[in-house]
Amino acid sequence: MPFLTEQDLQVNVLAAEVAAADRGAIVSFVGTVRDHHAGRSVLRLEYSAYAEMAESECEAVILEAERRWSVAVTLRHRIGQLAVGDAAVAVVVASAHREAAFDACRFVIDEVKRRVPIWKKEYYADGSVAWVDPTAPGGTVPSERLDA
């Protein structure tokens, strides 16, 4: 149930959670921290969450995927400080059929991005700091906290 974690994400460890002798297809998605965003050089970033709601939304997304396809799903999202290249989110789906595994994996990551209350603050090489906001022009809004 703890889908939010401050630990490194390990796809092979997550895969072991959903692997089974009758599930021959395992599809995984890992989202990593990129070194650029909207033309700015990113040094590191920080994820924060509305933890209790994020946990229940992650669980709801997984249940929805498992009801819609014949799959087993596991999911983790990092919170806290991350460096460029770190895995921020991992979804692993196991199924008897690869089509279902691909469809369900895509559904889960799309839904996580759409409805799980997690936010990302980016720290840039030029010293500025901004919140990622997909609805804002340019995709970010400056952070106002000077100690940020």
């Binding site: 924060s48 999202h77 209350p117 936010w119």
Partner: protein, 94 residues
């Protein structure tokens, strides 16, 4: 928490915790504030009271995404005494 038209609680006042998340906490200058409103109160009526009790809340969008007790809700939903109303910036996970 109830839908309008369902059982409506008495008209005595309702006290809820409003939680500001992520950038909204920066704008509000704090993470939570207690808001009291005459019952029956909706999410919208709590939001309308917000800048009276916390002027900095005037910097927030007029219609933020809201959750009540960790579930996304519309502004027209009723709130009950003790509920936690969370104001959520656009999500950016993944």
């Amino acid at each position: 928490m109830h839908f309008l038209g369902a059982h409506v609680p008495s008209s005595r006042s309702v006290t809820v915790t409003v939680r500001f998340l992520a950038r909204y906490a920066e704008l509000a200058g704090r993470e939570t504030v207690t808001v009291q409103a005459p019952g029956p109160a909706t999410v919208d009526s709590i939001l309308a009271r917000l800048s009276e009790v916390l002027p900095a809340a005037g910097r927030l969008p007029a219609k933020p995404l809201c959750a009540c007790n960790f579930r996304q809700v519309r502004g027209t939903e009723l709130v009950a005494d003790g509920d936690e109303i969370a104001l959520l910036p656009p999500m950016a996970g993944g």
